[in-house]
Structures are given as structure tokens and as C-alpha cells.
């Protein structure tokens, strides 16, 4: 056997073997069309090798022409197969270019069979025997080149271009190895065969047609790649089996875990609307375990109020790959309503379209109920908070405002947002802040605190407030809770009351002084009398010329003294008549008793009433409004005198007593020897317009009580065990 025969046979057998192998593969995997095209190309290459060998052995030109003609058939099959193998295997190359190349090759084939002897030669004039490869003598055609052969060349060129394009596209896509080996070998060997054709057909160089060799390389290279793919897929398949087993394991584990977590798993096929669920989910939704659920029937079971929202959410989830979370209510077949939380995500299918939506659902009814209960509690406490007619606040030990009511906002003018970041120093300043800080400490030490301070409102205004506070253990931490009342209106009312009280006191005082006018005039007359008499005595001494300077000095000293005395009386009178003297001063009640007795002295003389005093020495002073306290005492003294009008003149006396009352107050009492007060009228006497006198206004004692009360003291009436009434008042001693 010659080398050529051997080589051709080997080429053919290799190609046939590869073809057979991949045919087998294709049979197993019918959708692997690349394999079929490879099989075709390999078969074609094998046939071509046979034809070429026969041609080399041809003995006549005619015989050669026929062989060459039939040789175009495998050659065309080979070319077309390569186009589509490359296209399918590399998943690259312009399809239209493939079709154009295919079409051109088909045209060339048709022309080949229409022309005689073939596409390559117009006429084969003879055969030339040439020495070739290994000293073999082979037949080489001699003749005229067929111009139509250009069509064949064109198809070859198109094939080459297609392969180059596909290889580049594959390379660029990243499949570098595949593109290099398949595309590269195709390009290389196609170039060689084209060159060969050109040389043989146009160049007149006498070598035999031996394309099959060049194709062999290409087929082997492609076969290698294809086989590698097969091997790789076999490996992958093995791995897949393992991982499938693992997947089944993990699936089972997942199911177990889901069961344990009372979670139901599900998957939704967006095309069919079929819903795949775990039995647990069916159970949760109240269906039998083997129930065949789809999206529509599932949505029917959803609470009408949630249905549309859920449907929209699911539709949206199917379009995007983002994770979806939604909570909804389902009405179970038994009528029970339960809450579910759903989480899911759509997976991208291999074709790039939306794939199955898969996810997990959990029954959250208990949580929802707890939440609702919590919200209910919160709403209740909020309502209670807001029902408080003042500010309500809950502070942490760090001084942060934790909770408050609506009034807190409306009173201070701060918004919810602002109050959430409010600290003590934002609400108080200066002395108030110090007061609050001190009270704060006491409250946390366990005391109940009540303070009056100014609260700084938004915009700088200050609101007088009464604040309370008490320590509260809340969530295991010490807190301070309390309420605050706006004292603005109260203060106004208080001032108004004070104004009216002063007004009334003044009125009462003026009335009383009116009654006393005679007595007062007398008191004033005494010093005036002394002054006038002294002065006139002096005038007379001077007129007589017997001036005793010593006597004159004494007279002048007396005049000055008496003038002062008159001045004092007038000053006291003016004070008493003055409208409002809110000033508080330190007062010694003993001194005050003497002042008042001076004022009423002549009245007492007129009524033949005697005053007796039992004054405690070094009595602590009190703080108060001198005029108003004098008024009280004066009132009590005059009342005592009035009470004794019916007594014989020898039994008209009253006693004024001062003493300590405990360690923090002093008591002054006026005891008369009148008829006393009926025991059911001890309180009534302090009522306004209650009077036992015919011409009395009935305001005196009412005014007295309001004065003493305003001084932080107490005024009350009682009867003396011996005889008459006792009116007493206590006043706190001045600190």
C-alpha cells in the first residue's frame, strides 16, 4: 500500500470514527444539533477523502472529471455543516452571513452538476502523472479552468469570513478557548484549502486535490473541543447527581426547618398561575393536604379588604427580582380570619424571562393580636394622658422627656418633634431651673414634690405653673412622672381677689374710722390743746416781761413733743385711710395693741369701757400689712365694746392677750364680758352681711377673716367659760 492510500484511508477512518462517536452522542441528546452538524461534516470529510483518493488513482480525464464532480457534493456538505456547527457550537456568528454562505455553496453545487465536467474545469484535457508525497505517483488534471468556479471560491470566502466573524464574536464574548480552537482551526484550514484550490485550479500547479487533509485537522480540532464538551458535561452530570442528592437533603432540611418554624413554602408559576405549596401552608390556609391550589383560588380566600393590595403586590413581585414582603388576612374555609406574612422573590428563568415566584408564608395572627392589644393599650393611655386637664410628663432619670400629653404641646407651644428632644434646661431658666433641679433630686429620693415655677414656652413667654412629680419605676428604670397646671388664670383671679379684698378692707376701715371719728378728733385735740395752752402761756410770760428762760425751754420742748404726738395720730389715720398698702413689714403685735388702744381711748372713755392687756413679753414679730392687722384688732375691740353696751358701767371691760401658739405662731385674743355668741353662730358671725347691730354693715368680721387668712393665719370665735366672747387669731411668726 502506498502512503497516499494509507493517509487517505486513515483520514477517512478518523473522520468516520469521530462521526460515529458524535452521532451516538446526538442520538442521546437530540437537541444538541451542533453534534449532528459535526457528524455531517466528519462524514463529508471521510467521503471527500475517499473521492480524493479515487481521483488520484484516476486513469482517464473523463473519469477524473466525474470524480471531481461528485467530490463537490461532500465538499459542499462539509462546508455547510461547518457553518452551522460553528454557529451552534460557538453560539456566535451572524446568522444571515451563514445563510448567504450556505446559499452560495448550494448554488456552486447546483452549477457543478449542471456544468460538464464540473465546476472547476471547463474541460480536462488530460491527466498528468506526478510524483507526490513519499514518491507516490498520482494523477493530476490538466485542462481549462471553469470560470464558474469563482462561485465556489466565493462560497469558500464567505465561509471563511463567517468563521472569522464567529470566532471574533465568541472571543469577545469570553469563550476564548472555544473560539480560538474551533474558529481558529476553521479559519486556518479553510485558508489552506482555498489556497490549494486557487493554486490547483488557477495556478496550474500540478498537485492533486487533497482538501481532506486540511479538513482533517479542522475536524480533529473541532472533534476535540466537542468531545471535551461531552466529557465536561458528563462530569457535570455526575456532579449534578451528587448535588441533586444534596439538594434533596437540603430541601428536606429546609422543609423540616420550615415546619418547625410553622412556615409554609410556596412557588408560583407566573404562566399557569399554578401554586405549589408545602402541606404545612395548605394546613395553615385551612385546605386539605393534597389540595391543588392556584393563584386565583388562593386570592379568593384572602380577606376582601386585602385582596386587591395582595394581588397587585404579587404582580409586581413577578415583574421584578426584588424581595417582596406583604402582610394580609386570609379568611379560612371555617370562617376564621388569620393574619399571614408573605415573603417572596421572583427568579429569573434561563431564557431571561420572569421565572417562578417563590417564597415563604408565616401565620402572624398571634403577633398581630398582640400588636393590636398593644396599640389598644397605647391608645388608652394616650386618651387618659390627654384627658388630664394640664401637662402630663414622664421623664427619664437623665432628664429626657419620654412621654407627654397633648396639653403639654398646646401649653408650651412646642411641637411633638421638639419635645422629643427637650431637656429640663430648655423649659426652665435661672432660679426656676435651680428650684426644679432641687425638686428633681428630692423626687428621685422618693419624695412627692409640688413646686410653683415659671415654664419657658416656645417663643420666650413664661407661664406660671404648678408642677408635681413623683418617682416611678418604669421598665425597670427610675422615672419621674407628674402633671403641671397653668396658674396664669389662677394668679389673675388671685390678684383680683386680693384687689377686692383690699378694697373691701379699705371700705370697712373707712366705715370704722367714721364711727371712731369723734374719738379720733378727741385724740387729736389733746396734743393740740397742750400745744395751744403751752404756746399761749409762753406768750403771756413774754408779755409780762418776766422771762424765765428755763421755763420757756421746757414749754417749747413740750410743744415739740405734743406736735409730734399729733403728727403720729394723723399719720396713723392717713395710713388707715389709704387705699391699698400691700407692703408687708415686721410687726410686733404688742406694740400694735398699744397703738390701737390709743386710737380708741376716748371712745372707750365715752362708753365707760376699760381695756386690760395681758401681753407676753418679748413676743416674736409677725410679718404682715400693719394697717390691715390694726384694722382687725380695732374691729375686735369695737365689737367687744358694742357687746358690753348693756352691761352696767362697772362691768364693761375687755382683755387683750398675746401669747405664743406652738413654736411657729403667735395668738392674739380679745375677750369681752358681753352676752357671748350662741354656739351655733360661731361661724355665721364671719359671714358677710351678718350683723347683730342695727346700723352694722355686717362686713367687719368677714373682712377680718379674709385679712387674717391672707396672712396665713386663722381667726375664730369662741365663748369664755366665765362670760362673754373670745375672738382670737393666730399669725405665723416672721422667719
Amino acid at each position: 500500500m502506498s502512503w497516499v492510500t494509507v493517509t487517505c484511508s486513515m483520514t477517512a477512518s478518523v473522520c468516520a470514527t469521530l462521526a460515529a462517536m458524535h452521532l451516538l452522542v446526538w442520538f442521546k441528546q437530540r437537541d444538541e444539533w451542533a453534534n449532528l452538524f459535526f457528524v455531517l461534516s466528519a462524514v463529508a470529510a471521510a467521503v471527500l477523502a475517499g473521492v480524493e483518493l479515487a481521483a488520484m488513482r484516476a486513469e482517464t480525464a473523463a473519469q477524473y472529471g466525474v470524480l471531481l464532480r461528485w467530490g463537490h457534493l461532500p465538499s459542499a456538505v462539509l462546508a455547510i455543516s461547518i457553518i452551522w456547527f460553528v454557529r451552534l457550537f460557538l453560539q456566535a456568528g451572524r446568522t444571515w452571513l451563514g445563510w448567504v454562505a450556505t446559499g452560495t455553496r448550494m448554488l456552486a453545487l447546483i452549477l457543478n452538476f449542471l456544468l460538464t465536467p464540473n465546476l472547476s474545469f471547463r474541460e480536462i484535457t488530460g491527466l498528468q502523472q506526478v510524483h507526490w508525497w513519499g514518491g507516490e505517483i498520482v494523477s493530476v488534471p490538466v485542462g481549462l479552468t471553469n470560470p464558474w468556479t469563482i462561485i465556489g471560491q466565493l462560497s469558500q470566502l464567505l465561509l471563511l469570513i463567517f468563521c472569522i466573524d464567529a470566532a471574533i464574536a465568541g472571543w469577545q464574548r469570553g469563550d476564548r478557548r472555544k473560539s480560538l480552537i474551533v474558529g481558529g482551526s476553521a479559519v486556518l484550514f479553510l485558508s489552506v484549502s482555498m489556497l490549494l484550490t486557487i493554486v490547483i485550479v488557477w495556478g496550474g500547479i500540478h498537485i492533486p486535490f487533497s482538501f481532506s487533509f486540511s479538513y482533517l485537522g479542522m475536524i480533529v480540532a473541532m472533534g476535540y473541543e466537542l468531545t471535551r464538551d461531552v466529557v465536561v458535561s458528563a462530569q457535570l452530570s455526575r456532579k449534578l447527581k451528587t448535588s441533586e442528592a444534596e439538594l434533596r437533603d437540603s430541601e428536606e432540611r429546609l422543609l423540616l426547618a420550615a415546619e418547625a418554624a410553622s412556615a409554609g413554602l410556596w412557588g408560583l408559576d407566573p404562566k399557569t398561575g399554578r401554586l405549589w405549596t408545602t402541606p404545612k401552608l395548605l394546613e395553615m390556609l385551612g385546605y386539605a393536604p393534597e389540595f391543588n391550589l392556584d393563584l386565583e383560588s388562593f386570592l379568593k380566600g384572602v380577606h376582601p379588604e386585602d385582596r386587591d393590595r395582595l394581588r397587585k403586590t404579587i404582580e409586581q413581585a413577578m415583574r421584578s427580582q426584588a424581595e417582596t414582603r406583604v402582610e394580609f388576612r386570609s379568611v379560612l374555609p371555617n370562617g376564621q380570619v388569620r393574619w399571614f406574612a408573605l415573603r417572596g422573590r421572583s427568579r429569573l428563568a434561563s431564557n431571561g424571562e420572569s421565572g417562578n415566584l417563590m417564597g415563604v408564608s408565616v401565620d402572624i395572627t398571634e403577633r398581630k393580636l398582640a400588636e393590636e392589644a398593644l396599640w389598644g393599650e397605647r391608645a388608652l393611655t394616650d386618651a387618659i394622658f390627654d384627658s388630664v386637664p394640664g401637662m402630663l410628663y414622664l421623664y427619664t432619670a437623665q432628664g429626657r422627656l419620654l412621654r407627654w400629653n397633648r396639653q403639654h404641646e398646646s401649653m408650651t407651644g412646642y411641637t411633638t418633634e421638639e419635645l422629643a428632644h427637650t431637656e429640663l434646661k430648655d423649659l426652665f431658666e435661672g432660679e426656676d431651673l435651680a428650684t426644679v433641679t432641687a425638686a428633681w433630686k428630692r423626687a428621685f429620693a422618693g419624695q412627692r414634690i409640688t413646686i410653683e415655677v415659671n415654664v419657658k414656652a416656645r417663643g420666650g413667654a413664661t407661664i406660671p405653673c404648678l408642677l408635681t412629680g413623683v418617682r416611678l419605676e418604669f421598665k425597670g428604670q427610675p422615672h419621674l412622672v407628674g402633671i403641671g397646671f397653668d396658674l396664669t388664670e389662677y394668679r389673675k383671679a388671685e390678684q383680683e381677689v386680693m384687689r377686692q379684698r383690699n378694697e373691701l378692707a379699705h371700705l370697712s376701715r373707712v366705715t370704722m374710722l367714721g364711727e371712731l371719728s369723734g374719738s379720733i378728733a378727741h385724740e387729736l385735740n389733746q396734743p393740740l390743746t397742750a400745744i395751744l395752752s403751752n404756746a399761749q402761756a409762753a406768750q403771756r410770760f413774754l408779755a409780762h416781761g418776766d422771762v424765765d428762760l428755763e421755763e420757756l425751754g421746757a414749754i417749747l420742748a413740750d410743744i415739740v413733743e405734743e406736735d409730734k404726738r399729733a403728727g403720729e395720730i394723723i399719720r396713723g389715720l392717713r395710713l388707715m385711710l389709704k387705699k391699698s398698702d400691700a407692703q408687708r413689714q415686721t410687726i410686733n403685735l404688742n406694740d400694735m395693741v398699744q397703738e390701737v388702744l390709743t386710737l380708741v381711748r376716748s371712745d372707750l372713755l365715752n362708753q365707760i369701757v376699760s381695756a386690760h392687756t395681758e401681753l407676753m413679753p418679748s413676743l416674736p414679730a409677725v410679718k404682715g400689712n400693719r394697717v390691715q392687722l390694726q384694722q382687725v384688732l380695732l374691729n375686735l375691740v369695737l365689737n367687744a365694746c358694742d357687746a358690753m353696751r348693756g352691761n352696767p358701767t362697772t362691768d364693761r371691760r375687755f382683755y387683750i392677750r398675746t401669747e405664743m401658739s406652738g413654736s411657729e405662731a403667735v395668738t392674739l385674743s380679745v375677750r369681752d364680758r358681753g352676752k357671748g355668741i350662741p354656739s351655733d353662730k360661731f361661724e355665721q358671725v364671719f359671714q358677710p352681711f351678718f350683723s347683730t347691730k342695727q346700723d352694722g354693715l355686717g362686713l367687719g368680721l368677714a373682712v377680718c377673716r379674709s385679712i387674717i387668712t391672707a396672712h396665713g393665719g386663722k381667726l375664730w370665735a369662741a365663748n369664755s367659760p366665765e362670760r362673754g366672747a373670745i375672738f382670737s387669731f393666730t399669725l405665723p411668726i416672721a422667719s
Binding site: Q526, A537, Q539
Partner: protein
């Protein structure tokens, strides 16, 4: 039993419970050359005063213990007719009317002007002096009257009733001449010159005509 009544200047008692007023009044009266005694209470005055001493009383109305009106009544009760000048802080009419009815010399309102006060005091002193002189005269006449015999007193009663000697003799059953002697002795003992004088004296003594 008669006491010396003109043994010195009249004394002015001043009673006021206000020491300053008392002192100034005393000073004023002394400046007028009067003899003054000041008392700081009615009781003090009652304890100290000598009813025989001439003069007057300047009395404050409103005082603790006894007031001025009561002092006036107390003096009247013991027959002390000392003239009183009342001083008052506020002169209310009922009080002043009562005081005047009871013989007060004046009722002055404080502060009192020196002239007014001195005028009242002088008037009071004069009143006191007249009163004392009259009382002295009556005393003397009474002493003279005491020297008459009962027959002479009978004759006196008839004489002041305007009877003639003859009529008296007829009434008493005696001689006209005897009556004439009695009449002369009565006029001599009572130191009168005429019947008219005798009648006036008898009136003062309160002898009623027979």
C-alpha cells in the same frame, strides 16, 4: 364753825387725765397769775381739794374712772358749790346742757383759747367769791337771829307780815307798848335801821310772815 375764807388768793383746780394737757393748762393759768392745783384724775382731786378754799374747778369731761359729769354730781352731793368750767374734746349738746343745768360756769371745747378759758375762770372766781360772801352774810344774820327771844321771833314774824303794833298786841294779847319795845329790840339785835331792811333780811333767812 366758820372757816377763814379769804385767807389768800383763790385756787384753780385743774383735772385732766392727759398729763401733757394738764401740764400745759397749769402753765397757762399760772402765766395769768392764778394759783393752780393740777390733778391727774378725779379721784386725786376729790382726795385733795378743800371745799373751804375759794376758787374754781377746770374739769375734763372724758376721763377713766369718774368722768367730769360724775365729779360734778359728787361735789353737789357734798354741798360743794365750787363753780366748774368744763373742758371737752368734742362738745356734744346733751352733755353740755346737762352740765350747765347743774350749774356749770362754762362748757369749753378743746383746744381752748387762753382768753376764753381765763374769762371763764375769772367769771367762775367771781361767782365763787359772791357766793361765798353771801353765804358768810347769811351765816352772820343767822347768828344775830339766834340771839332773839322766842317772843321777839314771834313779833318779827308779825312785823315782816306788815302788821301794826296795835294789831300785833291784839293778836298776842298784850299791850301795844310792849310790842313796841320788842320791835325795837329785834331791830337792834338784827342790826337793821328800817322795817324794809328787816323784811329783806327775813326773806334771805327764809322766815315766813306770820
Amino acid at each position: 364753825m366758820s372757816k377763814p375764807i379769804h385767807n389768800g388768793a383763790p385756787t384753780i383746780f385743774v383735772v385732766d387725765d392727759d398729763p401733757a394737757v394738764l401740764k400745759s393748762l397749769g402753765r397757762l393759768l399760772r402765766s395769768a397769775g392764778l394759783n393752780v392745783e393740777t390733778c391727774n384724775s378725779p379721784q386725786d382731786f376729790l382726795d385733795r381739794h378743800d371745799p373751804a378754799a375759794s376758787g374754781c374747778l377746770v374739769l375734763d369731761v372724758a376721763m377713766p374712772g369718774l368722768n367730769g359729769m360724775e365729779v360734778q354730781r359728787a361735789l353737789a352731793a357734798i354741798g360743794d358749790e365750787r363753780p366748774i368750767v368744763f373742758l371737752t374734746g368734742h362738745g356734744d349738746i346733751p352733755t353740755s346742757v346737762e352740765a350747765m343745768k347743774r350749774g356749770a360756769v362754762d362748757f369749753l371745747t378743746k383746744p381752748v383759747n387762753a382768753e376764753d378759758l381765763l374769762k371763764a375762770i375769772r367769771s367762775a372766781i367771781a361767782t365763787d367769791s359772791v357766793r361765798r360772801r353771801e353765804r358768810d352774810e347769811v351765816e352772820e344774820i343767822k347768828q344775830r337771829l339766834a340771839t332773839l327771844t322766842p317772843r321777839e321771833r314771834e313779833v318779827l314774824a308779825y312785823v315782816v307780815s306788815g302788821r301794826l303794833n296795835k294789831q300785833i298786841a291784839g293778836e298776842l294779847g298784850t299791850a301795844e307798848k310792849t310790842i313796841k319795845v320788842h320791835r325795837a329790840r329785834v331791830m337792834e339785835k338784827l342790826k337793821v335801821q328800817s322795817v324794809a331792811e328787816l323784811v329783806r333780811l327775813a326773806e334771805r333767812l327764809g322766815i315766813r310772815p306770820a
